[in-house]
Symmetry: C2
Subunit: 495 residues, 2 copies
């Protein structure tokens, strides 16, 4: 098991009239023996550095490298023994939020995690707006702000851990197909039109300077492969985090956001489906929807006798709005308490002071606004959006299961990924049908699976082969054009 | 047999809902099949180009690539079918003169050859002066002027053939160890001191932009490996040109300039020797020494009865000065006509009007100056210098032969390289002992062997393995520190 970049300290024997091999040739001999590969690849800039460093230190140097197939690609050379300082950065490029995690590649420890709104948000909240903007020859702008967001996070993470960004020799990046394109400097606008085909899925190993990162300029950069326009490296990364491709039994990986993405499989086969799911779970769609941050309501219950709610907000902060898990709890509780019928309509016959007309729409008020602020409420429209997402999810799962002829109850584990998957209550999600009805203990929360997969690659570069293999062999279905989709979707729009 | 860069025109099948592989992934599939290698490597810049070109041409593109081990490294992508326009540049970086040859890699034809004084000459005629200058943190300056000389020649060669430098996708570079260092941007000044060790001998494959060439920026650049400070890639290149490493019989390769360089061997073993030989054959050392250019005397005879000379000058131009071959003819003829004794002293007892005191030194006048210009003459000092070179040459050959126990007469071919080796008369050279006494038909003139070897690599990239193998396995002896050197050298200073 080798980390994505590793370091080796060597003491290159001095040249002499008897051993008159050139300096770098003697160094190469020493490090390829340690790395156990026959070939070595240097960028010219590092050769120039190596020539001086070798002379200045009388051959006592630390080389950072990464193995690509049979070749050690050199990422850096430093004077003296720095072999215990080896750092990697995992990056998850979300359309909404970008997250970066700094890993100590010697201890495996996570030193810092930082997240921030993707700088592209200033050019459009949603992806389609950005793709439209990119299509008007503005793709470079979006590449620039995205890289600036990542660099800002790398700077924060490194500063918080007291290391210099130039000590980072390895970067693993997971993002959806469009974000991977933007990161590379490719214009993803081409994917808006049939046949919705990306420019590239399998991305060659890059150097940090190619993509303007502030890490060590020759740090190795691995970008997860995509499978199609709707199926990106973030999901492949999630699959790596789950270990689904290594299991004997069949497991299911669900990632729900603006898109529904699902993978079903084991170590022998994998099948995936993806498509748009409606915007229900994105912050900003419902009046009161928020990201999972302090103050967002993440848990809710409704007393079936009094119809009065109780709730808890993240970090115990003054409650305003709900994140995805709060929304799912609320809808499940409305249904269980009889305030909501299976078609998603309020049962207004049941009397409670919580029914209130807000902005001309009948609403159920979950929380009064503190200090005279607007209350947190939900409308039938919000519920309709959630049920649309759920219907897409059910369609996705059903099509996957039918395509391979597995029985639902044979699914060993259900991994849930996505930033709000962390907080979702499995009972609530199965109540409304967002998650399949299976024993609770089979559900495993990955949290940010995309970031976790990137971290896994940093710590074990051999799993790159697994990621590339998944992307190569997975059977991928487009949810929205699948012939069964509409039938299942229509009948699944009820609780 | 594959040229150093080759091109393939492909029509990448359009993407569809059924074949929804990404554009570049479909292209990769097509070209790795054609190239017959499993892997492909793209620089990011070319990926960005490919993404647009593929869309604009509906997949009709020409890809230029070069194979390094099992990997096709992409050097360029062009719209449409440009597969019949594929050009390479061979470069010989001499300390004195830089030569460039433009090759049509489709037909194998040489389209243009241009040579020019190495721009570094402005910082010192000889290498030691330049190394001293480089040692004073001025190495970058010397790298810059050298690259400028090469670029100027590439520009001239391409202009004369009516192609754009950016159509050049492959460059093969041969130069001595110091010149290779300067070319890469490495400071060779370190080699001035014991143990005289270069920074690098085996140079990884480069891209043109790394070394600021005006060819296609991603053109592949192969630089011949060196073996030691005095034994550079120019000699390895000469060995490639001679084919000495492929022969059954034993052959000898001689390269004489400021240094004596010699290789002896066959396909099973090779042994080489190099060392400084004195400046006799460099232009500018003798008063009348010139480069082999129009007007330089290249042939001379002396009538043994009248002691009157006849001569011919290059290109029939008005004669002034002599190049290396003229000098060797002249000394051989002086000796054969009895005007010179075996110790290199003039026999002034023999009376002729050609004896004349010039600048306070007794001289033999070969040619009167046309239109009142200075005559072309030779002094005992010039002869002494030549005999020093010849003694070094004999020492080199003798040590080589003794080291492997081959008899002189068993040498099948003697290849002579170096810019003035082209014109040397074998009889004259054997008369004075510069060349070993062997039948004339065994001598083969390579001309600029260094340039010829670079051309050979451009036309057959598989010979790179041969070049690297020679550099790896050759037994290399330092002439000037060899224990036998002084004895042989002393006794060989006579004709």
């Amino acid at each position: 098991m080798s980390t994505l970049s590793f370091k080796c300290y060597v003491e290159v024997p001095a040249g002499s009239l008897d051993n008159n091999k050139a300096d770098i040739d003697r160094l190469n001999h020493a490090i390829t023996e340690i790395a156990g590969v026959p070939h070595i690849e240097w960028p010219l800039g590092l050769i120039l550095e190596a020539a001086s460093v070798l002379r200045e230190t009388a051959g006592k140097v630390t080389v950072a490298g990464s193995i690509v197939r049979e070749t050690l690609i050199v990422c850096g050379i430093e004077p003296g023994d720095t072999s215990r300082r080896n750092y990697g950065i995992a990056v998850d490029i979300g359309t909404t939020v970008v997250a970066v995690e700094l890993i100590d590649l010697i201890t495996g420890e996570s030193l810092a995690t930082f997240g921030e709104v993707n700088g592209q948000a200033g050019y459009g909240e949603d992806l389609l707006t950005r793709l439209h903007f990119a299509g008007q020859s503005c793709s470079e702008t979006l590449t620039g702000v995205l890289r600036a967001t990542i660099n800002g996070l790398i700077e924060q993470a490194c500063a918080s851990a007291g290391i210099s960004p130039t000590e980072v020799m390895a970067v693993a990046v997971a993002g959806n197909t469009s974000m991977a394109h933007f990161f590379l400097g490719l214009n993803p606008a081409v994917m808006r039109f049939e046949p919705y085909i990306p420019s590239i899925n399998h991305i060659p190993r890059l150097r940090a300077k190619d993509v303007s990162l502030i890490t060590s300029p020759n740090a190795t950069v691995y970008v997860f492969p995509s499978v199609g326009g709707y199926f990106g490296g973030d999901l492949i990364s999630g699959a790596i985090a789950s270990g689904i491709a290594g299991g004997e039994g069949v497991s299911l990986l669900l990632d729900i956001g603006t898109n529904v993405e699902a993978i079903l499989g084991n170590k022998e086969w994998m099948v995936a489906i993806a498509g748009s799911a409606g915007p229900a779970l994105e912050a900003g769609v419902a009046d009161c929807a928020r990201r999972a941050e302090p103050g967002a309501i993440e848990r809710a219950t409704i007393d079936p006798a009094t119809f009065e709610p109780t709730y808890s907000a993240i970090a115990g902060a003054p409650a305003y709005g709900f994140c995805g898990s709060g929304l799912i709890d609320l809808v499940a509780q409305l249904y269980l308490s009889g305030l909501l019928d299976p078609t998603g309509r309020f049962v207004l016959d049941k009397k409670t002071a919580r029914w209130r007309e807000i902005n001309g729409r009948m609403s159920y008020v979950l929380a009064e606004g503190a200090n005279g602020q607007t209350p947190t409420y939900i409308t039938e429209k919000d519920i309709h959006n959630l049920l649309t997402t759920k219907a897409a999810m059910i369609a996705a799962t059903t099509i996957l299961i039918n395509s391979v002829g597995v029985a639902l109850e044979d699914i060993e584990h259900i991994y849930t990924a996505g930033s709000f998957g962390i907080h979702i209550d499995v009972d609530s999600a199965t109540t409304i049908g967002l998650y399949p009805k299976l024993p609770k203990e089979r559900f495993i929360t990955l949290g940010n699976g995309s970031l976790a997969g990137a971290r896994a690659i940093l710590l074990d570069a051999e799993r790159i082969a697994e990621a590339e293999h998944i992307a190569d062999t997975i059977t991928y279905l487009e949810l929205n054009v699948h012939p069964e989709f509409m039938d299942i979707f229509r009948s699944a729009r009820y609780i």
